[in-house]
Structure formats: structure tokens, C-alpha cells
Amino acid sequence: MFLALTGCELEYSPADELSNEQITESPDLLGNITNGIYSRLRESKYDKSRHFLQELPGDELAWCKTSGDHLSNSYTYNHLVNSSACLQFWQQAYYGIYQANRVIESVDDNASEEILQLKGESLFLRALMHYDLVRIFSRPYSQNPEQNLGVMIKDNTDGNNLPARSTVKQTYDFIVSDLLQAAALMTEDKSNVFASKEVAWALLARIYLYMEQNDKAIEYADKVINSGRYELVKTADLGRYPTLSPENNPETIFAIKRLPSENLGKSGIGSLYTREGWGEIFVSKTFLQLIYKNSNDQRIKFIDPDFVYLDGKKVPDPTEESGYKVNKREGYSKYFNLKYTFQDGIALLSSPVVLRLAEMYLIKAEAFAKIPAQQTNAIAMVNIIRIRAGLSGSQLFTNSDLKGYNSILEVVLDERRLELAWEGHRAFDLFRNNLPLDRSFTNNEGWSGQKKILPTADRIIPYIPETEITLNPKLKQNP
């Protein structure tokens, strides 16, 4: 009696949690779980690690320092088996995949359209995370995909099921299958910070390009272009691209949304790139040489040189691509890049773009360039992008004038470099096309990395995190 009176419970439920039963019985709450998968994308451990693990091995930037989180090991190709950046990314991706599996398993095929949409989004997110993993941790598809190891394919919620690494081909096949199923299930056109069938098609277009199924790449890129949902931003607005929030940007197909209240400030991606933040990573010399070839290229607006001023005036300097003297640090001229800053006018805020329409044209361009009978179509695609960048007349390519390039593929790859700079493509673009990467722009002092990275080098990919191998001994380490 007394216990009843005083309310001794010995059972309390968490104030901010709901039970599995409460969740799965309610469509609204299933939406919350799906939202929870998206939230994984915007976590710094996913988003920021993903960005830098993709971007730092490229040749579009120069880093004047080292970092304690092992990100700089990706820049120097001096990878470590216990890299904290790799570990964080690997873990967050699989946690997200597990969340997606929860939704996928709880929805049967007879569910309402609204619920099937959620299943489709979850399938897309599962595919995206597997793709991000295989792109970073495995060798390119163009190199022996049936032998080389991909990543663990995780398609269930059984916590005791710890898979070994599938081959690269098996991993890509699994991703393609998920994306096709996702595209079929999704019927709603949510905004471009959520998945839709067009988003799934766009990722398929890129993956088919990576898999060298060029016809399919063109087919899916066309599906996106012809959907009419997207249009290239106007030439005059191009330099403002990152400042528009994704929903107001007609070109963005899919972006990871970050609200002003979620601004990571100095810890965000843009911080390392800009004067508002740490400002330690600058635009590389070779990229500057490429983009400053045409001074009216609107994409120069993504570059923010830290000019030296004397009496309020810039100081002319012919050795600088910008034509004026720029402040230096550790021997590097400080050209910042603005692709991850000033969304909605907030200095360090950005919603990283995963897929955008310009890439679809460039996917088509590259695919055409690789189909001997259709190579001529490639130049047209490149020119769509160049015209949009404000170039015209002799600044455009024609099939008869490649302006010194040896092949149409070289033209396409440089256009991808110009257009998609700092969006995490460059190193993959080179290595999957069996091209080396040139690091001659790095200073001699203090630089212990290589100057030329061959696509066959073991270390174009990092190690599988050693901690995870310990917990799942079936995982085989990269050579």
C-alpha cells in the first residue's frame, strides 16, 4: 500500500525517446526516422570528413599546415591506419545505413504512396552512403573491379551480421540496384534537400559514368535534364551560387541542408578555405593558371585573393595570376575559395551541394567523349557549361579547334576541373581515367609528400580504419 502511495516506479521511459512500437505504428513518426537519416549527412563527422577525404587528394588546393585530425594525411597521401577522419566517416556512414535499413525493413510493398516515398528515400540514402564509402576507401571501378575490394554491403538490421568486404563490382551493383528501386518508389517532389526520383537518376548517371557504362550515364543524365525540374543558374548569378540556399537555387539537384542555427562556424567546411575562418587552404597554382586564362570567366568569382594594399590600392604584380600582389603564407599566395561560405549572407554557413545540373552536362560530355561514334557531341556539352560561365566566341571549343588539348577527353576533364572545383571530384576524375595527379605546385620547404601521384599507387586510397578491423576481423586491409 505504501509503495503505491509514494509512487515507487522502477520503470521510467526517457523523456526524449519513443519505443519501437510507438514509432513503427505511425506514418508521421516513420517520417521522423527518415529525417533522422538525413540528419546523419549533415553531421560534421560525415559531411566534413566526406568533403575533405574527397577533396584533399586533388590538385585544386594547397594547404599550408597540418591538422591534428589526420585530414592533412589525405592531402599528403601519407595515410595512417588509425586516421580519426577515416574512422569517423566510416562509422557515421554505417550508422546512417543501419537507420535506412530500419525504415526499409519496416515498410512492405503494399504501403501507401506516402510511406513508399519514405522507403524510396531511405533506399537512396543507403545507396549514397555506400557510394561515398566505396568511392573513398576502394580503388576506382576502372581498375579490376571484380578483384579489388569494395566495402561492406549492409542491407539488414541484424547487429550480429558483420559482412566481409564485397568486391568493387558487387558494391556498385548493389548501389545501382538500390537506386533503381528508389527511383521507382519515389513519387513526391520534395525540395532539393530531399531525395526524389530525379536525385536517384542523377546519382545513377554519375555511377554509370564511373562504371564506364557510358550509354546508361547519358540516359540517366538526360532523364534529369529533361525532367524540367532544374535549370542552370544565369551567368550573372553564377558567382553567387553558394550564397543561395538550396531551395532557391534552380540548378541544385541535391544538397545537404544546413540551417543558420546549425552553422558550425570555425569548425565547418568553409572555415579552412576563407579569411573568415582558419584560412589555411588556398587555391593551387596550377588551378589558378587554368582559370585565369580567361579573365571574364565568371567562375573566377569563386576565388577571393587576399590582396596586398598600399595606400588603399592593389599593388600590380605580373607573377600573380590575378595581376596584383597577394599576401603569402608559408610561401603560398593566399587565394581563398568561396564555395562553402556566405549562404544567405551568413559568413561560414553552407549547404554542401552533392549533385547539380551542370554535372549532368559534364557527365554527358565525358560519356560522349568515350563513345567513339559520339565524341563530337561532347564539345557541345562542354560549351553549354562554358557559355554559362560567360565565355564566348573563340573562348569556346569546336571539334576542329581543341585549343592545344590532345583529346576531347582532356577538354572535358579540364572543364570538369573548372566547373566542379572543390566539389570533391578531381582526384577521382583523374584516377578513374588512369591519369596521374600533379602536385608540382607544392612548396619544396616542409613538403614531404610526392610530387606526382600515379593512379596505380597503393595510397591513392586510405586504409580501412584499424579499429573497425578489430571489431570485424572479416575486413581486409587495403594493400
Binding site: F2, L3, L5, T6, G7, C8, E9, L10, E11, Y12, S13, P14, A15, D16, E17, L18, N20, L29, I33, N35, G36, Y38, S39, R40, L41, K65, T66, G68, H79, L80, V81, A93, Y95, Y98, Q99, N101, R102, G159, N160, P163, F194, N263, G265, K266, E276, G277, W278, D306, E330, I346, A347, L348, N444, E445, G446, S448, E466, T467, T470, N472
Partner: protein
């Protein structure tokens, strides 16, 4: 049996229930009072008679007491008339008064009072001698033996210090009790004796508060250590109890006594047995679990170490128990005590010495030259035709030498501390009180560090009747301290060691702080100049804690009593962090203000039925108890951005950024019982059982039962030893029992979905699976055996030896999972850990007399071993790895194989199997070959050593000469290993230009040329083959011997009695070979104690002057 307790939570939520409970409580208290009043009208007598006959007095007594007088009426006529005036006096008291001047005496037989003639014959007959025995403070003494010399006649005093014994005139009475000097008195004719026994420091006998009861130390069957008030106050001045206990209790390891003014030290009792459920002991304040007390208000601390002692706290006592008793008032004169101290503190850098501008330049120049020569050797075209000076000037301009900012000096200062404690205590027959107040303020030796606290305590006890007493205790504390808002790379402790001496602190004008963000050189990795940033932040924490106890004690009969203790605790904290728009962490937000508040309410009701009974030589006592504990924690926080300079409230922010808030609830329910038995006060047995449930655990396993048993034998009371006069005490103890550990976060058994601010996307709430469900989650249990021996000889030497073995089973572990499982980890009950060791405590009085010298030495040797883990699987834990058969904290990393004498390259150990594949220590395979490699990634991860010390202990020497005393306290740790992870940054062989370096420790040798046998690889700018990556290279033996405290005290006896003054030095010296600042780090986390980024803020050296005044 149903018990009452106050449940304030329900009062908040349900009005109907309030009424019910209030009614219930009211009836309960009323019944007690009623009962008590009825009792007192039976016993006590009130008389007011002037000049009346004795017969008339008898009549009145008969009416009031119900006793009957038997007497010869002829005899009564011899009596003289008398006046008597008493109020509420016992029957015996009234009778003694009435017979005082009469030629008569009396005997009480059952309910009859027989009056007899007190004739001459009686003089040769024994008289009934009564008396009261107190200590020198007037406290009644219980259990004092009163014997008559040359006879076997002996009695003991009761709880009120009273005794009665039949004695003849001329008999010699002997009063003896352990802990007091024995007194003799020749009996003449007094009927009431007042005896004051003087304490005998040499035997050190104390009454020990063991939580639910108090016992004499000689009666204990368990392993406990008592730290009395005086001993506690001897030594280090601190607001932190742990710091004050360091070196005083064998088996109690206090570590990481930081130099931070407010930082609490870690306390571990007899080793760590838990992996995931914490190692903190359970605190019990004034008999109730939890609560808080300022060290100044503590009258004693008892550290309970074995199961016989901790058994009754079964459910949460697996890490040992620290029982705190606060001071209480004594009847009599009101006492006032003032204790004040002031002092200064100096920052301690230990063996760590950072480079100055020139030293760093020279170091980097050698690294640059080696790099240059390498490149020239490789025929790198960029170096051809370029001389070294040109190259190096371009890399590090010699103009850096124009600046020499020595950050370790600039970021430290002389600290001070100030402590004042005032207490008033006293009381009358029925009511006693203690009021204490304390203010403490300390300015830390690191810039910006401050701490202020205020503590007030009131303890009141009122004896409502002879049977019923009520106690009320209130303790309230307030603390205020600034936080260092620059965590991570920008923290002050990081700037201390990694900021570059080449970077200026001030502009050329010498007073305007230099902004590292402005254009211009800044060589440091972290663009942080404390002096610039500190002008643009304010980050303050405030904490308030309040607890109040209401205790009722009711003596139902002389052998049965009931006690109910009820505590409500409130802990609140408030943190406000303002970074203005010029601060580098908030400039992008135009300034940012965050405010967070949290508060916790805890209710605990403990209800005990206590039984005491003696049958001849058999003494029994027992406790039956019930306890309920409820805890609710809530928090709320908000952040706004865009705040004008000069304002610091959320209302003033331009736009809201985020809100957060949460709530958790837990409860515990327990039933327990304990029986103590002793025969002849020579053989002791104790046993207890406790059954506990907690909301923390899974539905299948909420309840668990804990038990303990103990026995002890006072051997020197046996016939074969009782004539050996030089043995004061020889006692053997044995105990075994189980205790639990429930020190985990709530809800860990539930597989729910969590909604959290981090789980939202695009402004819509999101949910993530919170964890894998574990409905079987249950208590972690420790099985403890203790064998102890106590020996005291010549009243000068006392030795305590304890051997213990504690096996913790069903360990609560956060087991790491493969990412493929979807979760980082799951809370499970797996594995077991053993701690086995010896505690030695030796106290000797080396010299007695005017010059007195006493030494206390204690040492603990503890061996820790993981017996079992989850299916034998290791648990990876950063640079440590938990693995079966090894101590819990075992370092697991690349094993340093020294410097290659030919090349100066770093080398690590590589294990290979027969096929030449790499294997790691965790593979549990024997290597076919053990090689050295200069490729970090090709090195094996190996088990490289235990972090734990071989032994720890303390030595205290107390000297006194008349009124002067000197106390020297030292402590020591031998064989502990620290992973000095910060060296990966500040001893990096040239890897980066942007962090300052430490000067080499005296034993280090840098490789310079082929053939050099060196500890440190060749310096190379840009790094030498990952030589500075974590490895056993940075493990160091951190054994130390510390002169913890020296105190010189003078007590005035004539000039100003009650006044004493002292001077003391804390942390006078540390003897160690460790290259860092202070070897006293948290051995449970030897990595974080020396964070790779920051310097350890080790204990400071303090010089303190104080006065103590008793009025």
C-alpha cells in the same frame, strides 16, 4: 512494516497525494509524541514540598510513580523533616535526594522500595556506588570498564556514561577504556562519582561511524580507515575532499590533484574493478547516501573498504564507501571556532621546459639543414644552386628572433587563496546545535582561473522526550568559477606549451594585445592569443547545492529503536557564455550568448529498526531497513547570436540560434538487514543481506541480492595472552561479501528511438535508433574477501595489515560494436576483473614526552587483472586495450624500437607470421619473426605495458615540543606509466614549424651522425617518417615521491589559550624522472591526463599562513 517518507516530487505533481502524505506523516509524528508523553508520566516525578515528613514524601512518590514503599514505621520516625523541589526527575534521583541526610537507605525490588536502617554494620557491607564517566569534553563515555582492584568484579558504563557497582570503603576502583588513560580511585564514602577520563592518543581507539551504525574500532570485523577531524585538516589546503585525503588512507589512491582551483581529484579505493560503470566510491553523509559537506564542517571520515563494512550499502558500494560525519553541538558552554588562512600559490612546471625564441630557431635550423641536405642529395632541382642560408631564411626568417614571447611565464602568475571558517556550537540538555559558515576564494596560477565558494551548515538536534529525538540538518553551498571558453587547440593550457615564442603578445605599443587574425605573420598553429581573446569573452559557471535532512529517532524500548532519515537534495547549475563579435569563435555570428541551467532533485528516505540486546555475555544487535531513492534531473539551454557589445542577456540577442532541454528520472528501492553478535566482547560476528531494485536495469533483471559476513577475534583478551601486558590489541578479522555497482546512465536497457537536436534535418524533428535494447541488463557485482590483522603494542606501535581480493563480475560494459551493427557500442554485463592487494598501515610513537615524534606509514600494493571479457574479445579503448589476463588499463600501440644508429630513422617493432604477414598483439598469435621497421604503418600494434603503479602510499611524521608541532606529509607512487601524448606535438623531431618544442629532458640524446646511439631520431623539417605518431616512445615511468605538505603549528597555552597559528607549504617538492609538468595524472585515463594538445595543470605550490581560534 510500513515506513514513512517524504516524497516531495509527488507534492509537486499531485495535490491529492500531498494531503494523503501529510496526513500520514502527521499521524505518524503525533503517535510518536503521544507515546513518548505517556512514557514520561510513568517514570519522572515532580515534587515541591517544604519542611515535610519523609512519610509524606513517600506518599507523593507512590502516587506519581506507582511504586510502593515498605518500611517499619518505628524506623521512619528517626527521619528528619525535609524540603524537596524537583521537576521531572527520575525516581532514583528523587529517592537519592530524599535519603541524602537520613540515617536510612533503600533498595528497589521489583515495584517495591524497601526502606532500611543505614547502620554501622552497613559500613562494612558494600555500598552501591554510582557515577558518571565523561571524556575531557564532557561527553559521556559508553563501555568504560569499572572494576575493583584485586577482585573479578567489573561493570561497564551505559550509553549515558552511567554505572553502578557495589564497593567497600577502601576499595580501589579502576576505570579503563581503550583509547583513554586508565584511572584509579580509592573509594571512601561518596555515593555519586564524577570521573573524567583523559584521552590516550597512543592507543588511537575511536568510535567509528560505519554508516547505519557506530561502533568502536576494536569491535569491527571489517577493514576501515578513519580520518579524524584533526588529521583531515592536517595537510593540503583545498576545498576538495579528495585532495585533502591524499596520502592518508592505505588503499585509497587519489590522483590528478590538479592545479585548477575547483577541480575535484579522482578517488579510487583498492583498484578499479569496473570497466564501464565508474570507479567512484559511494559517499554517505550523516548516514544517508549522497549529500555534500564542506571539509571544514566534517568531524570524521571513515573509508569502508571490505564487504563486511560496505555490505549494508550493498547495491552501490562495489567501489568502497566514504562515510562522512558532520560536526554536531555539545551540551554546555557555547563554543566559537574561527579558522582562517591566507596564502599564495606558484605554478609548477616540473621537468617540463619549453624552448625560447633562440632555442626553437636553432632546433628548427638543424631540422632545416638536414632536410636541405636530403634534397640536395636527391638532386631535387629546386635545391640545386640554392645555398642553405638562402633556403632557410625563406622558410624561417631570422627576424623571428626579434620576438621572444615565453608563453609559460606570460600565461601564469602568482595565485592566492583565502579561507575563513566560523562555527558556533553548543546547546542545553534537550537541544544541541552546530552552525558553520565558510568562505573560500582562490585565484589560480593560470591566467583567468578563479574559484569562489560559500558554504553554510546548520545541524540541530532536539530531544523531544527521553525517547524521541528530532534532528534537522541543512547544508548549502554556492560556487562560482570562470570557464576557459577556448577548448581544444585554443585552450590556455595548449597556448602554454604550443604557442610560438616568435609570435608577439602585444602590438609595438606594448599594451594593445596583438590580434593573430590580422594580416601579418603568426607562426603558431592555433591562432590564439589569450590576451587578445580574453578581452572578448566572459564565461561563468555558478553552482548551488542544498540538502536538508530530517531525522527522527525513537527509542521504543531499551533494546529497540526506530530511526527515519529523509533527505531532499537540490543541485542547480547555471552557465553563461558570452563571446562578443570580436572573438574569433563568434565573429561570424556577430557575437554569441549561450545560457544553460540544470537542476537535479534527489529524495532519499532511509528507515531503520535497530535492536540491541544483551543476554549474559552474549551481545546482539540488529538492523532492519528500507530505503527509497528518487532522482530527477532537468536542464534547459538557449543560444542567441548578434549581441551588442556590453550586453549579456538573451533578450538582447538579435536572433535565436538554438534551444535544448531534457529530463531524466531514476529510482532505487532497497530492503536490508544486518545482525551483529559478540560474545564476551571478544568474538564478533556480523552478517547482512540487502535486496535492491533500480530503474536503471532491464525489465528482466531489476532486482538483485547482496550479502556479507564477517568475523573478528580480539586475541589478546584470551587467557593465554591477557597477562602479556605489552600487547594492547591483537585482533584478527575475516570477511566476505558481495556489493553492487549501478553507476551507469539511465535508460541504457531500452532500445528506443531518440529525438535530439542533432537528429533534426531542415528544421524538422528527426529520430535515430538510440541503442540496441538489452532487457537483461543488471547489476555489476563485486565479491570481496578481506583478511585483516591489527596489532598494537606498548601503546606505541600500531600495525594494521589487510589482504583483500575483489572479483567484480557481470561488469557493466559499454562494449564497442562494429559500425556494421549500426551502433558504436552496447551496454552489457560481461566479463570480470580482479583486484588483489595488501594495505599496510603502521603508526609508531617514536618519542614520547615533551618532545614527541609520531610516524604514520601506509602503503597499498594492488594487482589488477582482467579475468574474463565478452567471449574473450578485447575491448579497444584508444591507445589502450582491455584484454583477458592483463591489467585493466593496458597500453596498446606501436612499440618503439629505438633510433636506427646508422640512419637516425625512427623504428618500430613489427611482428610477422611465417608467411611474412604483419600480425598484431591482439591477434594472439606468436610471431614467427620480430623485426624492426621504419614504416609506421607497417609496425604492429602491441601490448606495451600496464599504466598502473606497483605501489602507492604516504608517510606522515608529526613532531611536537610543548606547544610547537611540525607535520610532514609525503606521498609516493612507484611504477606507474604515463602516455605523455602531448610530446607528439612538442617533441616532434621537426614535423611542423608551427608548434613550440620542449627542451630535451636530461637523459635524451638526439641522433646526429651515423653510429650515434640516440633516444631521439634525426631532426628533419617536415617530419622524419612519422616518428612523432603515437607509440611507446612517448610512454614514461611516472614514479614520484612528493613532499605534499609541511606544517608548523604553535598553540598558545598561557598568553591566549585557544589560539593557534601555523605556517604550511603544500607541494613543497616532487622527485621524479618524468619529463612532463606533474606525474600525478589520472591513472585511469593516463592519456587524457596529459592531453595531446594541452599541458597538464599540475598541483601548484602553496605557502599558507593560518590561525585557529577556539573560544
Amino acid at each position: 512494516m510500513k515506513f514513512c517518507y517524504l516524497n516531495l516530487d509527488k507534492i509537486f505533481y499531485s495535490n491529492r497525494k500531498i494531503l494523503l502524505i501529510m496526513k500520514f506523516n502527521f499521524i505518524f509524528i503525533f503517535l510518536f509524541i503521544l507515546n513518548a508523553r505517556a512514557e514520561c508520566s510513568l517514570e519522572n516525578i515532580t515534587l515541591s514540598q517544604q519542611n515535610v515528613s519523609l512519610e509524606k514524601v513517600f506518599k507523593e512518590i507512590e502516587i506519581q510513580s506507582g511504586y510502593e514503599f515498605l518500611y517499619n514505621s518505628a524506623l521512619i520516625k528517626q527521619a528528619t523533616a525535609l524540603s524537596i523541589n524537583v521537576k521531572d526527575v527520575s525516581l532514583e534521583g528523587v529517592l537519592n535526594l530524599s535519603f541524602r541526610d537520613q540515617p536510612l537507605t533503600y533498595i528497589i525490588e521489583e515495584k517495591k522500595i524497601v526502606v532500611k536502617e543505614s547502620n554501622v554494620l552497613q559500613l562494612s557491607q558494600p555500598a552501591l556506588v554510582k557515577g558518571e564517566i565523561t571524556d575531557d569534553k564532557g561527553e559521556p563515555l559508553f563501555g568504560v570498564t569499572v572494576s575493583i582492584k584485586g577482585t573479578t568484579k567489573a561493570v561497564k558504563t551505559n550509553e549515558s556514561g552511567l554505572f553502578s557497582i557495589e564497593a567497600n570503603s577502601g576499595d580501589v576502583l579502576i576505570f579503563s577504556s581503550i583509547g583513554f588513560l586508565t584511572q584509579q580511585l580509592t573509594y571512601s564514602s561518596q555515593t555519586v562519582l564524577k570521573i573524567i577520563l583523559q584521552t590516550d592518543d597512543t592507543t588511537m581507539e575511536e568510535v567509528v561511524v560505519v554508516g547505519y551504525s557506530a561502533k568502536k574500532q576494536s569491535e569491527l570485523s571489517s577493514s576501515v580507515t578513519v580520518v579524524g577531524e584533526q588529521e583531515l585538516q592536517k595537510g593540503v589546503t583545498s576545498g576538495d575532499l579528495g585532495t585533502m585525503l591524499q596520502g592518508k588512507v592505505p588503499g585509497l589512491v587519489v590522483s590528478n590533484a590538479s592545479g585548477h582551483p575547483q577541480r575535484a581529484a579522482n578517488i579510487v579505493i583498492r583498484g578499479v574493478g569496473s570497466i564501464g560503470a565508474g570507479y567512484s566510491p559511494l559517499y554517505v553523509v550523516d548516514g544517508i547516501i549522497g549529500g555534500s559537506a564542506d571539509p571544514s564542517d566534517i568531524s570524521s571520515i571513515t573509508v569502508l573498504k571490505d564487504a563486511a563494512a560496505t555490505g549494508l550499502y550493498g547495491s552501490r558500494a562495489a567501489n568502497g564507501v566514504i562515510v562522512i560525519t558532520t560536526k554536531s553541538g555539545q551540551s554546555g558552554r557555547t563554543k566559537i571556532n574561527y579558522a582562517g588562512s591566507v596564502g599564495i600559490s606558484e605554478h609548477q612546471q616540473g621537468n617540463l621546459s619549453m624552448m625560447n625564441s633562440r632555442e626553437l630557431y636553432e632546433n628548427r635550423k638543424i631540422a632545416g639543414l638536414n632536410y636541405y641536405n636530403d634534397q640536395v642529395g636527391l638532386e631535387n632541382p629546386a635545391f640545386i644552386g640554392k645555398n642553405f642560408d638562402e633556403y632557410f631564411e625563406n622558410t624561417v626568417p631570422s627576424s623571428v628572433l626579434n620576438t621572444d614571447s615565453y608563453w609559460p611565464t606570460l600565461l601564469t602568475r602568482t595565485g592566492y587563496l583565502n579561507k575563513h571558517h566560523l562555527s558556533i556550537s553548543g546547546g542545553g540538555q534537550q537541544t544541541t546545535f552546530y552552525l558553520g559558515g565558510n568562505v573560500y576564494s582562490e585565484q589560480g596560477t593560470l591566467v583567468g582561473e578563479k574559484f569562489n565558494s560559500l558554504n553554510l551548515r546548520g545541524n540541530v538536534k532536539h530531544q523531544i522526550s527521553e525517547k524521541l529525538a528530532v534532528s534537522w540538518r541543512v547544508n548549502t553551498g554556492f560556487q562560482k568559477y570562470p570557464n576557459d571558453p577556448q577548448s581544444g587547440q585554443e585552450a590556455v593550457t595548449v597556448q602554454y606549451s604550443t604557442n610560438m615564442p616568435w609570435d608577439p603578445i602585444y602590438e609595438a605599443d606594448g599594451s594593445t594585445p596583438y590580434n593573430p587574425y590580422k594580416s601579418g605573420p603568426w607562426y603558431g598553429n592555433n591562432k590564439a592569443n589569450y590576451f587578445y581573446d580574453s578581452e572578448h569573452y566572459n564565461d561563468l559557471s555558478k553552482e548551488l547545492n542544498f540538502n536538508t535532512d530530517l531525522q527522527l529517532d525513537y527509542q521504543i524500548t531499551d533494546w529497540l529503536s526506530f530511526s527515519t532519515s529523509n533527505r531532499w537534495s537540490f543541485d542547480g547549475s547555471d552557465r553563461s557564455q558570452l563571446l562578443d563579435k570580436y572573438h574569433f569563435q563568434a565573429d561570424f555570428d556577430d557575437g554569441r550568448l549561450s545560457q544553460n541551467t540544470s537542476y537535479t532533485n534527489t529524495l532519499l528516505s532511509s528507515n531503520l529498526l535497530k535492536i540491541n540486546h544483551t543476554l549474559g555475555d552474549n551481545n546482539f544487535s540488529a538492523i532492519l531497513g528500507h530505503e527509497y531513492n528518487y532522482n530527477k534531473a532537468s536542464n534547459m539551454g538557449a543560444t542567441g547570436v548578434d549581441i551588442p557589445i556590453g550586453l549579456d542577456v538573451l533578450n538582447a540577442t538579435g536572433s535565436p540560434q538554438s534551444v535544448s532541454g531534457g529530463r531524466t528520472e531514476t529510482d532505487f528501492l532497497s530492503y536490508f538487514g544486518q545482525i551483529d553478535y559478540n560474545y564476551l566482547n571478544r568474538y564478533f560476528l556480523v552478517g547482512s543481506v540487502r535486496r535492491d531494485a533500480s530503474s536503471l536495469f532491464g525489465v528482466n533483471n531489476k532486482w538483485s541480492t547482496f550479502y556479507s559476513a564477517g568475523a573478528s577475534w580480539i586475541i589478546n583478551k584470551e587467557n593465554f595472552l591477557k597477562d602479556v601486558s605489552w600487547i594492547d590489541l591483537l585482533k584478527a578479522r575475516l570477511s566476505y561479501g558481495t556489493t553492487g555497482n549501478a553507476n551507469i546512465a539511465p535508460y541504457l536497457s531500452l532500445g528506443t528511438y531518440a529525438f535530439d537536436i542533432d537528429n533534426t534535418y531542415n528544421g524538422v524533428s528527426g529520430a535515430r535508433p538510440a541503442r540496441l535494447a538489452n532487457p537483461d541488463l543488471t547489476w555489476e557485482t563485486a565479491y570481496t574477501t578481506n583478511v585483516g590483522l591489527e596489532l598494537s603494542v606498548f601503546n606505541r606501535i600500531k600495525l594494521e595489515l589487510d589482504f583483500y581480493n575483489r572479483d567484480n563480475k557481470d561488469l557493466l560494459q559499454d562494449v564497442p560494436l562494429s559500425a556494421a551493427s549500426g551502433f558504436p557500442s552496447q551496454q552489457r554485463n560481461v566479463g570480470s576483473v580482479r583486484n588483489r592487494g595488501i594495505d599496510v598501515n603502521l603508526t609508531t610513537v617514536n618519542l614520547q614526552g615533551d618532545f614527541r615524534w609520531e610516524t604514520n606509514f601506509n602503503v597499498n600494493v594492488n594487482k589488477n587483472k582482467v579475468l574474463a571479457l565478452n567471449q574473450g574479445q578485447d575491448i579497444a579503448d584508444g591507445t589502450m586495450r582491455i584484454s583477458e589476463g592483463r591489467p585493466l588499463r593496458f597500453l596498446y600501440m606501436k612499440d618503439w624500437a629505438g633510433v636506427d644508429p646508422q640512419t637516425g630513422d625512427p623504428q618500430w617493432v613489427r611482428w610477422e607470421d611465417i608467411d611474412g604477414n604483419i600480425i598484431h598483439g591482439a591477434d594472439k598469435k606468436e610471431p614467427a619473426s620480430i623485426l624492426k621497421t621504419n614504416d609506421y604503418n607497417q609496425a604492429s600494434n602491441l601490448f606495451v605495458g600496464s599504466a598502473y603503479p606497483d605501489f602507492t602510499g604516504g608517510i606522515r611524521n608529526d613532531f611536537s615540543y610543548k606547544n610547537l608541532s611540525l607535520s610532514i606529509l609525503c606521498n609516493f607512487v612507484s611504477g606507474q606509466t604515463i602516455n605523455f601524448a602531448q610530446r607528439t606535438h612538442i617533441d616532434d623531431d621537426g614535423t611542423v614549424l608551427s608548434k613550440n618544442q620542449m627542451n630535451p629532458h636530461k637523459d635524451w640524446v638526439r641522433w646526429e651522425k651515423p653510429g650515434d646511439i640516440a633516444t631521439h631520431p634525426r631532426l628533419v623539417l617536415g617530419g622524419n617518417l612519422n616518428s612523432n605518431q603515437p607509440s611507446s616512445r612517448y610512454l614514461e615511468d611516472a614514479s614520484y615521491f612528493r613532499i605534499q605538505n609541511v606544517t608548523l603549528n604553535y598553540t598558545f597555552s598561557t598568553f591566549f589559550p585557544g589560539l593557534s597559528v601555523y605556517a604550511r607549504v603544500d607541494n613543497l617538492a616532487v622527485f621524479t624522472n618524468y619529463s612532463g609538468s606533474d606525474p600525478d595524472v589520472n591513472i585511469e585515463s593516463p592519456v587524457t591526463g596529459q592531453d595531446k594538445w594541452g599541458a597538464n595543470y599540475g598541483a601548484t605550490r602553496k605557502v599558507i599562513f593560518g590561525v585557529n581560534l577556539n573560544l
